[in-house]
Assembly symmetry: C2
Homo-oligomer: 492 residues x 2
């Protein structure tokens, strides 16, 4: 009979009293490492569980549990009547192995996909925070948390388990209906609930469009300056980006019309051009729709903050004007409810609904059902419209305060404003260095978005984009005073 290793060989095995590390697990790992690093050779006979338990000052059951696990995983083998052995058939070249540190070379040497290469070329997105002048964040403190929480709590009573299981990738039906009612009534979108696909924020909506409507290497047109998220979604899907300049009526069609190879899709913000604020008038809308139809080009209409028009009512959607199924309308709850809710939606031409549903299913599956259900209830019970009305007054006042405060910046800046939205663009007059201003502001804890960062091509405007919705009137006033100081005394 084979001779067992003496238990004294295990006296280096120190057990910790940390309650997070079960004793059996510590023994298991210590023995496993001894096998893997070659200290316990294949075929070695282990001491009995009783002897080892005494040596380690633990109960015998603890050692047995560790042995059992090692037996189950194949590190040890048990021979009836003769004891427990290190498995003999462990591959030779694995032993000894330095499990403690593992090589760093492998991942770098393996080639990734073209998609990864496109992504890799892009800068890491700036995580915009939620501080003064951050862009795209609504007034989080003004959100009716109590109502939201009440709705959230009421749901369990009405069948929580049905909201915990699997659900439809295209979205929770009551939410699709509420959105359909809302965009039909307030945005003159022509649709029914079956055309709505719920997405994980506007970002997934863009990614779905980029993957489904075009192949890598085809052309996508965007506004210049424009929304960085759209440019990034399209670039990372491998699109050639064509930039179209904008004027005070939004996207200029000339670049599109002159191009030899018309784009497969065009991304526009006709209600409130992002970030300069222009509203596209009817005649240009019609011209765009006609041109896109002739060229078989999809239009993605991003209606990102259309709810917030202060001097007039929001302009009707481009989608509602289109007579062909060529417009894909996208909306988001990030700006009307809150960003981390991660709910967006697409209104699709009926012929595209099935393929988008499939893609949604394969990419992320259903969007969290409970969140969808709370949002649907919030809309159905009228809280959504009430909140919008309150926020319109709230933001209108903030915009007014900001515009007044910005008057004293007029020696250095021109203000792009159309009385809408949640941000304002300041364009610097020649001779002011955006980089210096942004850096100086940063030292004073004002994190502004540089206007140049909204441009893709080389011709850039310089300036600042100021989000005002999540700032108080006081923060707005003091923030502009700091900007004023930085512009007036650029050297500090």
């Amino acid at each position: 009979m084979a001779k067992a290793l003496p238990v004294t060989e295990f006296q280096d095995l120190k057990l910790s009293n940390n309650p997070k590390q079960a004793l059996f697990k510590q023994i298991y790992e210590a023995l496993r490492n001894k096998v893997l690093n070659g200290y316990l050779k294949p075929g070695t006979k282990l001491p009995s569980s009783r002897a080892l338990a005494i040596q380690l000052k633990v109960s015998r059951n603890t050692v047995i549990a560790a042995f059992d696990q090692l037996l189950a995983e194949g590190y040890l083998e048990s021979r009836t009547g003769s004891g427990t052995f290190v498995a003999v058939e462990l591959p030779e070249n694995w032993l000894p192995s330095p499990t403690a540190h593992f090589s760093n070379t492998s991942a770098a040497s393996v080639q990734l996909s073209d998609y990864a290469t496109h992504l890799d070329r892009m800068e890491m997105r700036n995580e915009e925070g939620n501080q003064t002048f951050c862009v795209g964040v609504p007034d989080l403190k003004a959100f009716p948390h109590k109502i939201w929480n009440r709705l959230s709590q009421q749901l369990p009573a009405s069948g929580l388990t049905s909201l915990m299981g699997n659900g439809p990738a295209e979205g929770y039906q009551p939410l699709r209906e509420a959105i359909s009612d809302y965009v039909s009534a307030s945005r003159s979108v022509q649709c029914d609930a079956q055309q709505i696909i719920i997405t994980s924020g506007a970002q997934q909506a863009l990614d779905l469009c980029a993957r489904i409507l075009m192949n890598p290497g085809q052309t996508a047109a965007i506004e210049e300056p424009g929304y960085k998220g759209a440019r990034r979604a399209l670039s990372s899907a491998g699109a050639n980006i064509m930039t179209c300049p904008v004027d005070n009526q939004g996207l200029i069609l000339e670049t599109l019309k002159k191009s030899q190879h018309p784009p497969k899709l065009i991304y526009v913000t006709p209600a409130h051009q992002y970030p300069l604020g222009a509203m596209m008038p009817l005649d240009r809308r019609m011209e765009l729709l006609d041109w896109a139809f002739e060229q078989q080009c999809w239009i993605i209409e991003d209606d990102y903050d259309s709810e917030y028009h202060y001097q007039s009512r929001p302009v009707a959607s481009l989608q509602g004007l289109a007579r062909q199924q060529q417009v894909i309308y996208m909306g988001s709850f990030s700006k009307v409810l809150f960003p981390s809710l991660r709910l967006g939606y697409l209104v699709l031409p009926p012929t595209l609904v099935e393929i988008f549903t499939k893609a949604k299913q394969e990419q992320t599956g259903v969007t969290p059902l409970h969140t969808q259900a709370v949002t649907a209830a919030f809309m159905q019970e009228g809280h959504f419209n009430r909140h919008l009305r309150r926020m319109r007054l709230n933001y209108e006042e903030k915009l007014k305060t900001l515009l007044e405060a910005c008057e004293k910046l007029s020696p250095w800046c021109t203000v792009h404003a159309q009385g809408a939205g949640m941000h304002l663009a300041l364009e610097f007059k020649p001779g002011i260095c955006e980089g210096t201003v942004v850096r100086n502001l940063k030292t004073k804890n004002i994190l502004c978005s540089p206007l140049s960062s909204y441009f893709y091509g080389k011709e850039k405007l310089q300036g600042l984009v100021l989000g005002f919705a999540n700032s108080t009137l006081k923060e707005i006033a003091s923030g502009v005073a700091i900007i004023h100081n930085v512009l007036k005394f650029p050297d500090g």
Copy 2:
């Protein structure tokens, strides 16, 4: 001075009392349609708002609001001192236009991407419900809703607004830390929190891997039979699928070793092969790791229900055994908490963290923060481990009941079972037609997954896959009795 259209021309304009449709909006839409369908020609002078208000029996302000909106959008124009006119510069070819019905031809005639073509070829995924024997759904009624709701409610007090704004795409840091602690302690995964990326369920984790690690047209290896979600994610990303048969030790390496063009990645379920249940032993794990390293092939280890081993403790992960950075470990909360939570995660080699974070950011942005925060608190406070322990006992009892009930099916079926997981696979003996059985069961409200559907190639086993976690002991007994009846009397 131009003569205005008589107000009697508007007597066909019927207004509804529906409180959901504002009067001004109804007038706006009626006039807009009259312009768009050519009834009101460019240059036509409209009646005064006062006259129209009397005709329509509404306040003058209501008509003015409608006019203002149409003026803002460019349908009308106002000439100082002479009244309101239909805009003259509307493009001729838009008028008249049938806005009421729009053409169906456009979408169909525009070509979609190759990705869409891959997707289109796939069958629509069956939305598995949450009824008896549905696969992959945990016991929803046993979930500690009260604790979950309490944690959810407590969050506002500790800074809800910080959870409402923008957040990091890679995940909420306390959740990454909780997951890192959990997989290190219970799955012997070698990682720290920086290697964790939170995803929208396992599905997004798979989609990210498919897009980042390989190009369309390259080969991906999967188990046969295997998880349909993985096959679909890989196929839709354009992968050539290579199937590797499994035996009672999991994936067989022979197909891989014989292939002229080794795959770029291989998807495996070593802890509990899906759906047949085999556990891959140590020697085969080592062989797989060695082979994959030599061939520069990524391994995706899906540890989907590794928590549920009843006769022994869960086997340590493949990732923890690997000495090279070649294993990507994926986990999900769908089976340990609930599916509609939509939380999954990847444990990545450090060199891949940045590119996966970028892709996550571009595809869906951050995963809902509030959900992540509640889950993190649930783990930190020990509820997660307690729930797992309770569910292990719960499912073990159900599995025992199911196995006992299935004994009477032995004339027709072989049971694949390894005392783990949330489902059982029954393999039919020759001569039993799976299609007929599944159809018959459906008429009796038992919706089973056919075993053949887990196969991609032509050689298929026939049988049933039974999920038991979300069924009561009574439902399990009566469900098996129905299956017994259907097998015994196939003609009803």
